[in-house]
Symmetry: D2
Subunit: 98 residues, 4 copies
């Protein structure tokens, strides 16, 4: 299947991109922290706490992306009379519900 | 509250540590990949897919840690007649169920 | 705050309603089964398995509702130039991501 | 495979059983409420909110069961020098992490 979209239908503004990059930079730092905890043989529960924090930070990035996706791309898509993004969104939500 | 454990009660063997480090190295690479996708303004759904993959890889690390924690630390703790790890474990499971 | 919608913006057809009711009837049966397992003091893990099954059945109902909601109500709402449903949907998705 | 345990290894006391039954009775009522909402064609988001509430109530039952299971059955099992419950618990936790 040919990929339908290479770029967001509604462009992300600079502020959003900066916000997303700040967050993923921080997450990269969290993952390196987890690596160091494993290397220095720290206690299981402390490492798990950091893993939960990193997952939760990834969720914040997902929410920001989805917010722009729905407010921007989805509305634009529907106005154009296309409903591709709607079907994709349902697949994505399907992965979230479990 | 004073921290009860600095180190795992039952030591992690080399193979487990290596396995955990390989996995977290790979996750670090995934996070850098997500950063690049944001920088090059890729499509929302493709970035979300990568975020879901990174979260699922973090879950595998959690499971490995918990497996050792329960088979090693918890059993050792109970044999010693202490039940600290049991209470901690319930808190951790409480965070998982939601 | 005044409630904005009493009814779905796009009506649910009979087949969907029947499907939803069949599923919730079955879930009601599952809950009664869990009650009986508790009353007859069955093994913890077996009860947990039934609870996971009931949660997963509830998720299927959520997905069916959301599918109709997005394909029906959301598209209708955006075509009318209103975006209320979009904001609501983001709140709902926010509850799903965690 | 023969079923290993028909009953909890450590018996549940009356108060716990009563607590569990009260909660599952309430959940049964919630499911019947959801059925009525579908029958009277209520708004999608309102039904979803009730479904999330029922899932969260099921989680509370799971936590109560697991608490007794770990504090009672698991500790008893390990003291007897058997580790069956440990392996089962890891499988159950594996279902929770995802």
């Amino acid at each position: 299947m040919e990929k339908k979209h290479q770029r967001p239908i509604a462009p992300r503004d600079e502020e959003l991109i900066k916000n997303l990059l700040n967050r993923t930079n921080r997450i990269e730092g969290q993952i390196r922290g987890i690596k160091r905890m494993i290397e220095s043989d720290e206690y299981c529960d402390d490492i798990l706490t950091q893993i939960f924090a990193a997952k939760s930070a990834l969720d914040s990035v997902s929410k920001l992306l989805l917010k722009h996706h729905i407010h921007g791309c989805l509305i634009e898509d529907i106005k154009r009379g296309e409903h591709e993004v709607v079907d994709e969104l349902l697949l994505t939500i399907g992965k979230l519900i479990k």
